[in-house]
Symmetry: C2
Subunit: 301 residues, 2 copies
């Protein structure tokens, strides 16, 4: 590694199922690596070894500061980084130090909480901070699709309020573990069916549990194809979510974090509602947020 590209810190995105690490020089990625040592499968003493197994090489000329975000900071994680209560900026100036050996300096970003309605996030606050770094002065609503999709109201650089929906987890459970697994293929998509289901669910969100079994029955009785069933299931869940999240998107400026299938599904669901949402690269936002956290830390020391 030439002197020029020598990293000066390490960015870590540590979720429940994955661990992603980046050797950084300022805001620039020098190297990257990842493993499936997510927080969900690690006991307290296993975090440092899991991290060192990925970044060991980058530390051979000496320790580098490590900034981590995500579920690594939960009570079951490496160290509990206490929630900060909204309204507040997405990032605190101070991070929480994880217990390490040999002088390794690991700091973990705090999640955000909201007292009423009760809600929490861990990891998304870093993406929100990164998004604001990349779009200074942006006011509006950020939608972060995922297992637990978040809708976040931003104003003057602060998170004002947010709401989490389990639609992504419900989609996975229903399509993989319920009786519908026989009718939903792993792939395939019917856009017209998705649009119909969005409209259906937004008009009659209470019919969800009945419409779900109807998908199975339509497959049995009318040979509805797997791509139609898959898109309809997704549309019903996202449509119900849009019905409940109306206050977050109606008449608002919207950005969606993500550029993949799920993000594009939200984008196309919002379009007929007259909302043209911008898509944002998730990794770029995460790294911009971790970089901001790293700079805050340096400014403090």
């Amino acid at each position: 590694m030439s002197k020029d590209s020598a990293p000066d810190w390490i960015a870590v995105d540590w979720g429940t199922t994955n661990l992603r690490v980046f050797a950084m020089q300022g805001a620039t990625v020098c190297k990257r690596a990842q493993s499936e040592d997510g927080m969900g499968r690690l006991a307290a003493a296993e975090f440092e070894p899991a991290l060192r197994s990925l970044v060991g090489d980058w530390l051979k000329d000496g320790n580098l500061p490590v900034i981590a975000c995500g579920m690594v900071g939960s009570r079951q994680g490496w160290v509990e980084a206490p929630y900060r209560s909204v309204p507040c900026t997405p990032l605190a100036e101070a991070l929480t130090a994880a217990p390490t050996t040999n002088g390794l300096d690991v700091r973990v970003v705090s999640g955000l909480s909201q007292s009423s309605p009760a809600d929490v996030m861990r990891g998304e606050e870093t993406q929100i901070a990164g998004f604001l770094q990349l779009n200074p002065g942006w006011d509006g609503v950020l939608c972060l699709p995922g297992t637990h999709t978040k809708w976040v109201l931003l104003s003057a650089g602060e998170v004002i309020s947010f709401q989490t929906f389990m639609s992504g987890e419900l989609f996975a459970l229903i399509s993989e573990k319920s009786v519908l697994r026989h009718s939903v293929a792993e792939d395939g998509w019917d856009s017209a069916a998705f649009e119909t289901a969005i409209n259906d669910a937004m008009s009659h969100p209470e019919r969800l549990a009945a419409r779900l079994f109807g998908l199975r029955a339509n497959n049995l009785l009318h040979q509805t194809t797997a791509p139609i069933t898959r898109a309809t299931l997704s549309g019903l869940l996202i449509g119900s979510e849009l019905a409940a999240a109306r206050a977050y998107w109606l008449g608002q400026k919207i950005a969606i974090l993500g550029t993949g299938k799920q993000a594009r599904a939200y984008q196309s669901a919002l379009r007929p509602q007259g909302v043209e949402a911008m898509l944002v690269d998730t990794e770029r936002a995460t790294l911009a947020g971790l970089t901001a956290a790293y700079r805050n830390t340096k400014a403090l020391t």
Copy 2:
């Protein structure tokens, strides 16, 4: 076995996860047995051995006719007993013979289907027939709580229409497999929380996916207890179902099939809506239905 109590036929309730058999003399149970050889775990050639392993003793003086209901009659079951389309009586006169060896006579009850909205049932039609045997001339709505709860409109001895909800399966998936599994205990119940959740969900059924994650957040932030979370989850799901099934219970005479926790939960959810539902013993209804099917068969031969 004395001559008096010698069975003359065998009743079989064969669902996805369980196999229950009854040695019958007319409408009276002489003996019973059960196993976990549900239809879900058996290949085509395994049905007869699974049945014989439970009823072999009862057949040692000669074959007895066997009448079976449930998923055993599905396409993946022993023999496909074609759906009958509503409106129709719950039982056909003719049953479908399963392929057997050594002259064993096994007949399977057909399920019911509804073309629009698409819906199906297998097994419940027998319970409905039994309920009508036990309550001749009963007109009204029968609610059959289960993994897939059915609401069934009965008039003049016929099934007019029905609607299936996946609420039971959603409760199992969410409480056992989702992020909420950390917050929902296996047992415990808070009646006040259940009632609040029913009201909440009936007023705002679209908020379901948001309220679900709220349960997790309330547990994390406000230490909501597991019995409250469990009862709230159940209340949200049943309340959403009641909102969608309104046409089935509003101003109707209602009977609920079942006497256990789930049936009582539906009963108590309906009470504040001014509906006093009668609870009905499931096994009694199933056996009365199978007995009616057996008598139809005898009348034909």
